[in-house]
Symmetry: C2
Subunit: 541 residues, 2 copies
């Protein structure tokens, strides 16, 4: 009843007043908000105008002035995230979700890309940096996807010593450089030596723009290193040096000098391939010193030199626009080599507090999202490599934690003892994070699709998970958005609402699943959740 009286007091359906104007023009008027405080409004005829600065805070809506077609207007946005409509049926051999748009390694919470492993090091939950399987898998999946969506890279071979030396090497007195046949690979390679007495090392002068992916194969002696010189194309006196040293150092930097360790060296080491994004390495070096003002633009720099110190062999020295597949395989290799062989899990080496009232996750915990992402990487590596079983075996082992309860070190939770759930964070009590669960489902689907004969288990876990998803999906629906998890049900606390980018992730995941499961529940829910992003709400009684 009061509802009505208020509307009447306001003047019924206010819209009809919307346009009405008043010759006296407008006047200032106080707006009292819920009897709590007042703000300055405007009155014009039968209409009250309220400042967006208030609405922006009160409702968390967004807006900006935009001028085009010759006039200025104000653009109101209820939310800020993007919906990705799948172009066709999801294919585990193809791009993962919309990860071709991701650029994992440039994120602030990535300390650097390890030069020993070729994968990102996270600082999200521990500032000195650690290997975070979920992030490493996303790094791999983004590069696998970019490889499918970006044009073929431009590659410039600087040196392969095959017929003759390609490059004009500058060899100082006391240093040596020659072209030799490597008995092991059967390929001609560069052999060099530049003793400590010679400070300059053997070097190449370059004037190379746009291509900043450096790759080479090498064998280096102890204490050897090499340095890449980058120069600003605008300010020629602005010079950066990227040093790659025979050490376990993750990253260090001082002024214009950035240091990455490529691991221990020695003539006994086998040939190694190294792929570095020089811009990312410089970027992280500057960030390391908090000297990064804004993202570095590739167009403002060029590669002007390359110097090798100490002694060793090198081959296939290349600069290219991108090396996505190499980076994808760096991630796949990391997963194969860092899996716990007894449990099949990829441990998260940091303590994690998910919510007050839940026990902390102790270092070594597994994540159903991390396991699932790993399956998505390994399934693609198995497919792309033409069936390399090391990837398949690692993926199959990665299924094991899905059958082990969170309390027993696995990732399996149960809703009221009735509905199984794969936990992104295997907390006690369970947290039921939605997006991590669906990412786990995608990993299971990927593996069961690329290796159907070998992975009945993955198919069964996927089917079981889809049933659970459909049973619990609506518990995340608030009628105007979604919750991130079900902690409110488990802990009796306020719901943990999903901010718009997580809400959009929920939508994008449902749209993707709807291409492989035609239950109308998925599409209908996704469409309603899309509506929430432009302010639509579920009906009230």
């Amino acid at each position: 009843m009061l509802n009505y009286s208020l509307q009447d007091a306001y003047g019924g359906d206010g819209i009809e007043h919307g346009g009405s104007s008043d010759l006296q023009g407008y006047e200032e008027i106080d707006c009292n908000i819920n009897g709590e405080y007042s703000i300055g409004c405007r009155k014009e005829g039968g209409e009250i105008y309220m400042p967006f600065s208030f609405l922006h805070k009160y409702f968390e809506v967004y807006g900006k002035l935009a001028t085009y077609d010759g006039y200025e207007r104000f653009e109101w946005s209820h939310s800020y995230s993007k919906v990705y409509y799948p172009k066709g049926k999801y294919d585990p051999r193809g791009i993962f979700m919309y990860f071709e748009n991701y650029n994992v390694e440039v994120r602030d919470r990535v300390k650097c890309v390890s030069a020993t492993e070729g994968v990102p090091v996270s600082t999200q939950w521990e500032s000195q940096g650690y290997y975070y399987p979920t992030q490493i898998a996303q790094f791999g999946l983004s590069h696998y996807s970019k490889n499918l969506t970006e044009p073929e890279p431009r590659r410039t071979l600087l040196e392969d010593a095959e017929r003759d030396l390609l490059a004009h090497w500058v060899v100082p007195n006391g240093a040596t450089l020659s072209r030799v046949l490597d008995s092991h690979t059967g390929s001609h390679v560069v052999e060099f030596s530049s003793p400590d007495s010679v400070t300059s090392g053997i070097s190449l002068k370059l004037d190379h723009v746009l291509d900043f992916m450096l790759s080479l194969t090498f064998k280096l002696a102890v204490n050897s290193s090499f340095t890449v010189v980058l120069q600003s194309r605008e300010k020629r006196d602005q010079i950066f040096q990227l040093h790659y040293t025979c050490s376990d150092l993750l990253i260090s930097a001082q002024d214009q000098h950035v240091y990455h360790g490529i691991g221990r060296c020695g003539q006994t080491q086998p040939w190694r391939r190294l792929t570095r994004d020089l811009i990312v390495d410089l970027h992280k070096g500057l960030a390391y010193q908090n000297k990064l003002k804004r993202k570095l633009s590739r167009s403002k720099l060029k590669v002007t030199g390359l110097t090798f110190h100490g002694s060793g062999h090198l081959d296939n020295l290349t600069l290219s626009t991108s090396e996505h597949l190499s980076q994808f395989y760096d991630a796949a290799q990391w997963l194969v080599h860092h899996q716990d062989s007894s449990t099949g899990g990829w441990p998260n080496p940091v303590r994690r507090r998910v919510a007050p009232g839940m026990a902390d996750l102790e270092p070594g915990w597994y994540s159903a999202m991390g396991q699932g992402h790993a399956l998505s990487v390994l399934a693609r590596a198995y497919h792309h490599s033409g069936g390399d079983n090391s990837y398949l075996h690692s993926a199959l082992a990665g299924l094991r934690p899905f059958d082990v309860a969170s309390s027993a070190g696995g990732v399996l939770a149960s809703f009221l003892g009735r509905i199984p759930w794969y936990e992104e964070y295997p907390t006690e009590p369970a947290s039921f994070v939605l997006n991590g669960f669906i990412y786990a489902l995608l990993g299971l689907y990927d593996l069961s699709t690329v290796a159907p004969a070998a992975s009945h288990k993955a198919a069964q876990l996927f089917r079981q998970g889809m049933v659970s998803l459909k049973q619990l999906l609506l518990l995340y629906d608030t009628g105007s958005g979604t919750t991130y998890d079900l902690r409110h049900f488990m802990l009796g606390t306020a719901p943990n609402l999903a901010r718009w980018d997580y809400h959009a992730t929920h939508v994008n995941q449902l749209l993707l699943l709807a291409t492989i499961d035609h239950d109308p529940l998925l599409t209908a829910t996704a469409e309603r959740w899309i509506g929430y992003m432009s302010g639509k709400r579920a009906a009230h009684n």
Copy 2:
């Protein structure tokens, strides 16, 4: 990220622009809403002003202009309902919730108050009218509560024939009226006879204002009746006649004449007591003819006459301000006499569709809310009557449906086979309506409190229900309001959001429960839900 960019584009924290003004004053500007449509806004300096008429519709917020303290302001209301803070610990012998504010019988969906039963007849789900146990119980509980909160009524005894006749009866030729001793009651009563040949009947001239509760005890012969004359105090020619006839007629009306049936008559009938709210009876008679412009004001009418036709006996003829206890006992008596003795249920005689996707409830269904409300009435009747066992026995029988599954004709549902729930609407699948469940809990608590020795069963059902409530409570929390039920979980559809008056009911029920159960979950949840009513929201991640 986009989140930021939008805020930046808007000008960072908009608040600082809030007051800023511009000498050029304001200008018109289009606001484009989510890229979907445009509305007319105002621009003034760095601030955008948006019309409330738009916000009113977009967010369903309310507002009205109010002038006091000598100036006009606009009052913004996020919601429209009232929170009732309990004054002390809830006492089942005292007022029920805040029902002293209810006036059940004047609601539009009440066709009339039956003159044979003294309880309201509902048209909510069936237009010809039916007895709705939940509504009858609310009628009883509101009058019980009003009796405790309102001042003692003013009573004017018109006739009791005790020492002598009190009133100046007008007895036409051929009619008789005398004072006789009723052997059965041992009280002196009026005996009258006015054969059909005498059209006027025996009558009283009155000029009585303000008190419109008529009560009398009577025995009437077949086809007798009596008529009350009401006159407008402003328009003396505006006269209404309320006819109470010996028939089963519910209500009928033509022009100024309103007819209620008081049931079959005959000298064999025992003494009956009748209590009528004359204003309500007139109100319903006009509504019956759709002639009710607005609610009738008691101050605009007076009682000018009373006429008895046919023959019979009458006693204790009284006009009073209110007769809340009589009306309360009318409801309690109705419940005792209309309970299914085999099941203990109070049947709802209408088909009810709760939601598409749920099977209709067939006529005869029971409601845990109806059962619970009945327990609240009967517990109070048992207490107030000083222990009349007919009320206690009816109440104890009323517990039976709480143990019977909805599918078997009871009101017991189960959440995933784990959490028992008392269903306001025992649908298949279950609907888990929150407010009806809590009303059921209150009924169980009331009975277990006023008759602890006899009702261990009620206490056990109450304790079990409180455990269920605490387990499921947060599933109703959307972070900005509550849902009315859990149909979204059961059917996979949009949540059925609770409009603000239902949300306020949830809050008021939790505040009440918190006075008898000190689990902080109840208070913390109620406080958060109160915040939602002024636009506060749960945090997002």
